[in-house]
Assembly symmetry: C2
Homo-oligomer: 227 residues x 2
């Protein structure tokens, strides 16, 4: 790690999926020598899914630069059409050594024009939208393509952030953080991917996603048209 | 699930480990028919580790009862000596069908006198304090003893909350949530438990914990003396 403080900017927005953000934040905030700033376009409180409100975010416009830029998923296709957010995201991205995302956060990076010709991860239910932005969908849980590191859906953010911690601070640091957060997962079911989920569970999730499919695709196309 | 709304109260406090809380919250907030209330003793904003501030928590005293009471870990031995918090926690616990915790949250349940003779999980680094409260430490990731369901350290909260979701809403519901949050973990290292962590990582974490060991043990003893 460089001697100067390594600045991580987490750009959050209303409607984000909070675990996309809080999983990586737990890990990023335990990297010695890294300063983590939680930012949003307007600054101040930001409401996520599950009715959690994060107070005191910094205004993105007030942040000059960063070493690592991170975007969580959630209402990603909405924020991809928020021109003020996207302008600040592009500006910060231009200063960053690493561009990163979790879940549908890759659609936001894509909509900012940052994933052209690059491989990226995304939540399984929305991964097919990546090519709208010239990105190459990759089903892996954590995908690295040059300086771009992306994670899959929601909980993939924990695996993703450990990969990032190892990149920034070395493997022993990442392993120490993994031990401190007792990350030896033991899911009670094997239902974390469409390929392994019981048919009833897959059907239930697809039924909930169905009304959103056309809407999010249209929003992604509007964002892509701006590129 | 009963026809009436199933009320989940998450009792949080300053210095909690945010992922202990946000992991389960993600899952609890996706249980149909459950209402999730984030509460604290004073109400209002609560600052967690990693400098995250959760806005708008309800005052515990304003909540009449609940079906499930949940306590995350973190500055657990401090809150165990906060008489106002503990009084409200005991009152809510008396109304609850399920008592639950993640990480050192079990020390808080213990300090409330709720774990006498009961098996409970806890973060590996602090599990040895459980017997101060008459509880039986169990190294499993998720431990169920009657109506008490507890999870191990930090990330165990995700496994724990899926077990709780299955208990409340059935296995298909829990599997659907697992699929929606793409919980098919793939840790980049096998360092999540002291038994598997590389020696350098274990030494690093133990070195960071060392100054806290005597302090937290003393705080737990003070809390135990109140029982």
């Amino acid at each position: 790690m460089a001697e100067a403080e390594f600045l991580i900017v987490e750009s959050i927005y209303p409607g984000m999926t909070q675990l996309d953000f809080t999983g990586p934040h737990t890990i990023f905030s335990r990297i010695p020598g890294a300063k983590v700033v939680v930012a949003s376009e307007p600054g101040g409180p930001i409401a996520s899914d599950g009715d959690l409100v994060f107070a005191g975010t910094r205004r993105m416009a007030e942040i000059e630069r960063c070493d690592l830029l991170f975007v969580p998923g959630g209402a990603a296709t909405e924020v991809a059409n928020d021109e003020a957010f996207m302008r600040e995201l592009r500006r910060l991205a231009a200063s960053a050594r690493y561009l990163t995302s979790v879940c549908t956060g890759s659609l936001v990076l894509g909509a900012a024009g940052l994933l052209k010709g690059r491989r990226a991860a995304c939540h399984w239910g929305w991964r097919h939208l990546l090519p709208l932005f010239g990105a190459i969908p990759d089903p892996a849980r954590v995908v690295r393509d040059g300086n771009i590191i992306t994670g899959g859906g929601v909980t993939a953010g924990i695996d993703f952030a450990l990969v990032v911690a190892a990149e920034i601070g070395g493997e022993t640091l990442a392993q120490s953080i993994q031990l401190a957060i007792e990350y030896a997962p033991a899911p009670p079911f094997d239902s974390g991917r469409p390929e392994t989920a019981p048919p009833e569970a897959l059907a239930a999730v697809k039924a909930r996603m169905a009304p959103l499919l056309a809407e999010r695709a249209a929003a992604a196309e509007r964002a892509a048209a701006r590129l």
